[in-house]
Symmetry: D2
Subunit: 466 residues, 4 copies
């Protein structure tokens, strides 16, 4: 075994596959080398005790926006600071986005984004935002095939945000039809005309104060677009993944479509939600700091929030991700006009503790980690390298101590935002240690990794979640 370092994590309860086991985890170099009964292997270079703790696969946040530049706003973070905050939260993989450069091969967009990401401290993969799909079906199939070959099995499509991101139904259907086998389309679902009309009406009435933000993007705009996109996908048998469900209706529609689909069609419709939609609701817009909660889609009514949480408990949601955007309070407060306030909340660092606290008692730890790690890894082609603790997988491991009780405080976090939307929320448990490819990068609150150690992860075929 020579020069490769062997680490043994002992004494913990390990989440592997969808199981929770009392076992030791053997790491050799960058990989998991074994899951073992306690004491089965002893000759190692380092023993890390996980007594009293859970040994979890590193979290895969399938929806982040690090160093996002929308053309108008730029988030405060860069890949070093952004991915370091993630690491503190037990996130060892982020899947972020590259934007197609219209008229250029996808490889260029990918290379450009990879250059930006050179400072990453954890591994990352990329979804490709398709902005100008080829008109000819053959050409479109060819370019998406190339994208797949570049290690990008997931594309992102928008039903809103004219003129940059918006694709009309014909374009969406064309892309869904052209996707190679194994590719999955993430879709941001809000009806563009409904959002535009609601926003314009507010603007015309002078209601652009932050507190009107929620009214600008009605819940029914999301539900309509989900209903439509699911139908388009069913026409061509495509795999679609509805991002950041903020309404109960969206989730219900995805699941109804799943149960109507017969046999192998099942599983073509997937969805995620985010902590903000199951923990917060729109009463904050009437509160003291409405600007902190400006994001798209906006927070919804308490009814939607509660029902969405119930749907998570009922197994109707595949992935919990963050849609994290690290804008600062100063950026948020630059104007009092919601139409000119950057939309998006920080959240990667708090994903694991908040979701553990909210759901572990109801769904159990294996199911929780399925939503936080294995499912995103499967859906976006990173499994079994990421998302699980199995021999051969990357040694991305979180040692999580369920005992400590604390509350979320922004001064304890590592974002640049200067606030957290979850301020004051109680959490159970604490990340004690984080390993990324066998290297301890977070240890009892101290960062041990270094900038640039993160690697780009080419993805394979999209697999069904477990």
């Amino acid at each position: 075994m020579g020069e490769v370092q062997r680490i043994l994590i002992t004494g913990g309860q390990v989440v592997t596959g969808q199981t929770l086991l009392r076992a030791d985890v053997l790491i050799e170099g960058e990989h998991i080398a074994g899951i073992l009964s306690p004491g089965a292997v002893r000759e190692v270079d380092r023993v890390i005790s996980a007594a009293g703790c859970f040994v979890l696969p590193g979290v895969v946040d399938a929806h982040t926006h690090i160093k996002l530049d929308t053309g108008i706003y730029q988030t405060a973070d860069d890949w070093e600071t952004g991915s370091r905050a993630a690491a503190f939260g037990g996130v060892t993989t982020v899947i972020d986005f590259a934007n197609q450069i219209p008229g250029r091969p996808y490889a260029e967009a990918l290379a450009a984004r990879q250059t930006e990401a050179t400072g990453a401290v954890i591994d990352y993969a990329l979804h490709m935002v398709v902005l100008r799909p080829e008109v000819e079906l053959d050409a479109l199939q060819a370019s998406l095939g190339e994208l797949m070959a570049l290690g990008i099995p997931s594309i992102k499509l928008f039903t809103t945000y004219r003129p940059n991101y918006y694709l009309d139904d014909a374009a969406i259907l064309r892309v869904l039809r052209a996707m190679p086998d194994g590719m999955i389309a993430m879709v941001h679902c809000e009806n563009d005309s409904m959002v535009t009309a609601a926003t314009q009406a507010l603007v015309e009435q002078g209601k652009t104060d932050w507190r009107h933000h929620g009214e600008a993007r009605p819940a029914e705009a999301e539900a309509e677009a989900v209903n439509r996109v699911l139908y388009l996908a069913s026409l061509v048998g495509a795999r679609v993944y509805i991002v950041h469900n903020s309404t109960a209706d969206a989730t219900s529609l995805v699941n109804r479509m799943r149960s109507q689909a017969e046999g192998k069609q099942r599983g073509r419709f997937f969805c995620e939600t985010c902590p903000q939609y199951v923990l917060l609701h729109d009463s904050v817009y009437a509160g003291e700091h409405p600007e902190r909660y400006i994001l798209q889609p906006p927070l919804r009514s308490a009814h939607h929030m509660e029902q969405l949480a119930a749907y998570v408990r009922a197994g109707m949601v595949d992935v919990l991700s963050t849609d994290s955007c690290d804008y600062t309070l100063a950026q948020k407060r630059a104007t009092r006009d919601f139409t000119r306030t950057p939309g998006g909340l920080p959240g990667v660092e708090t994903l694991l503790p908040l979701m553990f606290t909210q759901f572990v008692d109801h769904v159990g730890l294996p199911r929780l980690m399925a939503m936080l790690a294995e499912n995103p890894a499967r859906l976006f082609g990173l499994y079994p390298r990421k998302g699980t603790i199995l021999p051969g997988s990357d040694a991305d491991v979180v040692i999580y101590d369920p005992a400590p009780q604390s509350v979320i405080r922004h001064q304890d976090l590592h974002y640049l935002a200067g606030y957290t939307p979850f301020e004051g929320m109680p959490v159970r448990g604490r990340v004690r240690m984080v390993l990324s490819r066998g290297e301890v990068i977070v240890d009892e609150g101290a960062f041990k990794g270094k900038a640039g150690r993160g690697q780009f992860l080419p993805g394979g075929r999209s697999l069904d979640p477990c």
Copy 2:
């Protein structure tokens, strides 16, 4: 590690959880001690090469009838011969049945059946056939609670076979309502009056020759009873498991109920089918040896067979089991009257190779082993001790070589029946080695175990299948 023998199975592809991995399997004594990257551990007492082979969890046949005595007929096997045939087929656990002794505590029925099983060469668990449920709900809850405490989380109920096994709807509903949390009811679903009427009509017309057997138990009798039992279970939120689905309709009804159920109700309805229902159809009753195919429910039309197989491929069936009964040809041929011919087919030994051949290309090996091992272990409270290869699990392992091509021949099998209903069917692959609790009991076709080494397995709570 001292005296405990350490075995390392190397070079194979391991099915663990729902994953297929290139890994070594470490065994210490009776248990799995580790799943390891190749070469991660070397100091062992014995190395077994699985090069070119799959390393599978031992099959759990959730529905066997070894040494069955119906009062009228006795199968030819005893626990030694019956379980040995199972072992040859890669089955390392059978779940058989004990019959309630009316008026006596369940412990007595359990003890009596355990006494019969002392010769077992592999481990076994038992379902309890409930024949005379207490009338008072309190008393019934108490006795089922005791049964659960005895390690029996699964009961068997019959909708037919008057006067011995039959329970009326009131009794079935009462039992479903009284079951403690974590218990599951297996139900034999055939409408008693429809089976009786069809049989009587044949008897009155003198049509008792074997070839009329299928007409005596119409497909709609199964479908009706499934529809009814699912509804009864939905009234009280019980877990039910429909045994030996022989019709497409039964499976379709189970799955429709699953998709109608909301949230946590999902997963309360489960089902199995058996090799005979996806490989054989009722044309055999017009053939040379109709007596060989007398079983309840009977073989159905080619349409049902093909649709059932399609449903298995579509993920709509939870478990593949055998309902095996080892009657001899002589017993089958004692009269030419189907009403007096013992019903049931031998099958444990051929379960794995036949189902591997039929389904592995469509569903993949992890899903196949879910149906053959992990799901029955989960549903009947044996997981994770049985049904999976994970540290701490019993070291029940099958080394299966997918390369050899052969055909099923009764002379190669170890039943006492003297025939197999699957004679001449081609199979892919061969069981090379079988370990039961760390002991090699079958090695290249030679039996190495010994009578009486099998243990009774007390079961815990019924878990949802994966």
Copy 3:
């Protein structure tokens, strides 16, 4: 036009088909001769003013038990008194029952019951209760075909009441399969074993006081049987009509089955409910006079009552009928033991005013009369002779004045029972005049008809309701 008397009912609003019209109704002899614009015809023998009133088709009560002899109990009425009470309530047709005489042609049962009915003052039809269906399908088809030819397109089947009425599932399925095209099966749906078990449990606990009656026949026994019978009917494509729905679940199941059925299968599943199930609930069993409310199925919870009424308003119920049985208070009070108290409530006379009051504002008068007259006439083969006001139809007409407000008082009614379960309920409107085949039989509360004028109505094919 000679000797035939011509009557013109003028000035009212006429319900004809599913329409409400300001029109005159011309009667010639026994038949409707025209629906006319006011003033279009003037030369008549008699003009009856319906100013301010509705002119309704005579009510068809599809479910009565006049002069019922169960073998144990006999209702107090005979056909003269029973049908006279009906006439007072605007009911001009009752559809009652004849019981098959096992082993004898249906014609004999029919003749016997017609003999009993010779005193009828209004017309009547008969459903045939099938008690011992032939075992051979051919013979069964033949006898049901003869029944149809005798003018009986509707049969009644029971899932309960052993040993007299009960049919097992095989028999029910056989009958449904054998029914000639155009025949419809009414089914009393309560799971026999569930009712028996619940009753026995009460008996064993000594809980036979009237107030326990409801517990003896659980709501789920009805729902289960409805679910089962609908499924049996779907297997053979039969027309079934679920009688006296007392639970919301029963109605919901019928309607779910309708919406699942494709195209022409639609409309094969029908149901009725009765005034007692939408106006009364089980709190009466804890009241002063529980014996007055003993019937099968029993009154249910307030939830069921309210939901059933909502289903009627939503168009989910085809027919409103009474299941009327005219037992006297003395009979009801003979013992304090519900198992020995005759079950059934009087109700024909109050059907129209109660249902008018309860539903007319929500569903409108045409829909109300569809449930009270046209639908039962269609379903049981009497349309267009009965159930509508159209040229050629029998001149069965009710002049109903919506203005008077009153309350139900048993002393105003014409039953022999000596009480009404609806005592004290407010009603809107009053029957001013009733014509049966052109003859005024009730006029401002005075009976003008005479015994024996009622005729037996042979029925044709069962038609779908409107």
Copy 4:
């Protein structure tokens, strides 16, 4: 009765409500004065024998385009010729369209179109095409309320035809939400971007020959838009009517939505199809005269045609209308470019005989006339004045002789188009006489009416179809 002429139509079978009766129909002046048993009335001014014939309510064609001016193309007919052709076919009411004049009160658009229609020989109503709905909900509610008060309960919305007719989803939802109670929205459903993209692709490939017309408007564009519009309507509980269903999917979606809707929501979703979609399919585009079949939506595959016809037979379609446009062959042939060929087929005159021939045996005459007369009259607020033969209704009556066999020949028709798309199709029966408001306007093939006698019909609330 004085000066008012009394006509008696005797000896026929009358369709009234949903019934077929042997009866006489009495007409006084412009109205039906009675439905009578044969011989009940004799003193009349004129007796018309309908012996051997059916006496039908005049057909209400709910979807015509007489004297259509799209801005680019003008149909050849004017109201005199167009409505005379209709009369020859037994159509006594057409419901045509007025286009909103943006920025002006609806009354102006209505007045303008009424002026054009002064030559009409039969009565007509108008749907209002909403082109620029007010942005403010209050203003929109007010203007639609005014429209309703003007006698226009039905509006037309388009999901396609930019820039003139197209409304985006926000506008459609806003209109659906603002509609007063009793109003119904007809929606032309084709996904605009999908139609545009498909057309552009053909144009770019130079495939603008007529034979490519069908490819320009894919079936899935219709299905998608139907799915979307139904969902929008469900969000606000609006009444919608999907026009000219050309695909099986559209009809299936409407009916699925109906069966999912609970209780009173039922009946909010309606649809029509047209003779061309159940009698013709897209093979004609490969034939000799593709230009004759250019219309939007285009003819579909034989599968769609057959399935749509099956859905009509199964009762899943509410209305049969024509979408008739009387372009001449010369206009059709002006260019060989489908993008510049006027779209639309003549058809009012052949509606009744073709649909009688196609469907009467399967659905019966009452149901056929429900789809051709009563349902459109109900849905568009004209019932009971139009669509039925009841006292007080307008005396719009067709005497239809079912005996003659003939084939459709354009030279027998009265369009200006110079061809019929149904050339050579066999038809059963013939229109013998047509009365409009009591006046014989067609008698044995001779036109007896005169220009300008037709009246505008203000509509009331939209009612559910029967």
